[in-house]
Symmetry: C2
Subunit: 309 residues, 2 copies
């Protein structure tokens, strides 16, 4: 095989009470990437989207992942040509950089006859996250590669746990404002109250149990964040209103996607998810802020091959 086309899904990191350790893959939006194996060493990157991203491999998120992979591949005579059409907007909080780096290394591994394990691929792709946000984290990378809901119990050493979950609809609004991941990280306090931490770990334990038991009510009760959201939501106009109205419309719950500015809401029924999409549109139209919305579902397969030759 010389050429492969893959789709790399958007992801929601943190999942309200699972800051830095939980993530979930979505069916929409997805980046489309075409990777070709070349007998010319090096990496050549082209973007067909309009995001004006750097294309030098060391400064490109996909490139950073591919460079890490090539560094561990024995045959030094090979290279890659990558053509990317990004559909996940950079800076949306929907795992855009993770999709770029995870998609690229998964595609490369297919062309290399699965030389590497999935855990290896997560490690390579984290170099893309390091480039994008300054921090190696895997709460978007892991669900992007594995699909579904993933727990990153630990980064060093890497310990990824796949969690089963019932079918869910996900509504997302991406207000077109900028929240830098590094800024969103800096405003967090270094210390938290023990009593808040206890409440948070009660909630994450409840959320994991709710997912694994297919208990929608427990999922809903556990979708509470007493530590990160109260600080970060200040950066997102309309957040409180979207959350309150979505809960009233029947959402199981939701919150900030990753470090924002996107907001996501989980629903049991498509009808509920659609009505939440419409109320999100109302809020941001009223605020005069451009936005994009999605009503989609939990993606269980992760990066997917759509063509190969």
């Amino acid at each position: 095989m010389k050429k492969v086309t893959i789709h790399a899904p958007a992801t929601v990191a943190n999942l309200v009470c699972g800051f830095d350790v939980l993530g979930m893959a979505l069916n929409d939006p997805q980046d489309i990437m075409q990777l070709s194996l070349s007998d010319e060493p090096g990496i050549r990157i082209r973007h067909t989207d309009g995001f004006n991203l750097p294309v030098e491999p060391a400064n490109n998120v996909s490139g950073a992942g591919l460079l890490a992979l090539l560094a561990e591949y024995p045959d030094k005579t090979i290279g890659f040509d990558l053509v990317t059409e990004k559909c996940i907007k950079p800076g949306s909080g929907l795992g855009s950089s993770a999709a770029s780096s995870a998609g690229a290394v998964v595609a490369a591994n297919i062309l290399l006859n699965n030389h590497f394990s999935k855990a290896d691929l997560v490690k390579f792709a984290m170099n893309g996250e390091k480039l994008a946000s300054g921090v190696k984290h895997a709460d978007n990378i892991a669900p992007c590669i594995y699909g579904g809901v993933t727990l990153i119990r630990s980064i060093f050493p890497l310990d990824i746990v796949q969690l089963s979950a019932p079918p869910m609809f996900v509504t997302v609004v991406h207000p077109q404002i900028e929240v830098k991941t590094s800024d969103a990280r800096q405003i967090l306090r270094k210390e938290v109250l023990l009593k808040d931490a206890i409440r948070q770990w009660g909630n994450i334990a409840g959320l994991v149990a709710g997912f694994m038991k297919n208990d929608y009510d427990l999922i809903s009760r556990s979708l509470e964040d007493v530590i990160i959201e109260p600080v970060r939501s200040i950066l997102i106009p309309g957040f409180d209103e979207v959350k309150k109205n979505s809960r009233e419309a029947g959402a199981l719950g939701g919150g900030i996607s990753g470090s924002g500015p996107s907001i996501f809401m989980l629903s049991r029924e498509e009808k509920t998810a659609k009505s939440i999409e419409s109320l999100m549109q109302d809020v941001f139209t009223r605020l005069g802020i451009d936005f994009k919305t999605y009503t989609t579902t939990l993606n269980n397969e992760g990066v997917k091959i759509t063509e190969q030759e």
Copy 2:
């Protein structure tokens, strides 16, 4: 029915990374309680053990639970006679007060034809915990009443989640030293580092997933406490040695039972659990501290009726 005899199990609260929210019931030791319904109002308590516990209902842990229950029972002409043989030593960190209060209210509810729900019983029994330690908590009460492993996601409102778990052996050593629950609580810092809290909630999420997937390796990796144990273990001589030696002997992991001084270790095989019991005995014999050890199993039924007439 006029008279019932029940066994109320010892419990291990916290389960290493689940401070204040996780608990597990054990098959040994168990308190034995005989409760009779009386047409004489009030509560009369007698102990056949040698612990010299107060027997006035308002100062007795079982009494506090029964008083709360009677306050919500419509028929004010009834009363109870209780005879208790405590086998779980008070102050051991094995849920002795929880067994007293939970056992009493479960027995009372049987005599009242299950007038109250299990969640009601937890609430009544928490009055016993309040009396014993000054704090209403349910991480011993809930597993004592429900059996198995329980998550108390929230106390107000009360939200108890039963978690499935694979068969496990539990080795316990109770060094005969005094650690007051209130002291063990006071030495904790009110604030914790966010990075430690993140590690802790990664671990509790992993532990819950490990229990529900019957994944012993994941359980083992998740049994890590970076917040409470480093502070409280100082109060327990021999702790580090017991933990290190138990891990080397093949324990899945373990730590302080509740607020101590008991130490528990989980094992997959009985043989491992037995060898851990023996090494625990070695450590405390060498330290010249009296102790008691148990090798037992996870109890899945909670308070159990053994006789009724």
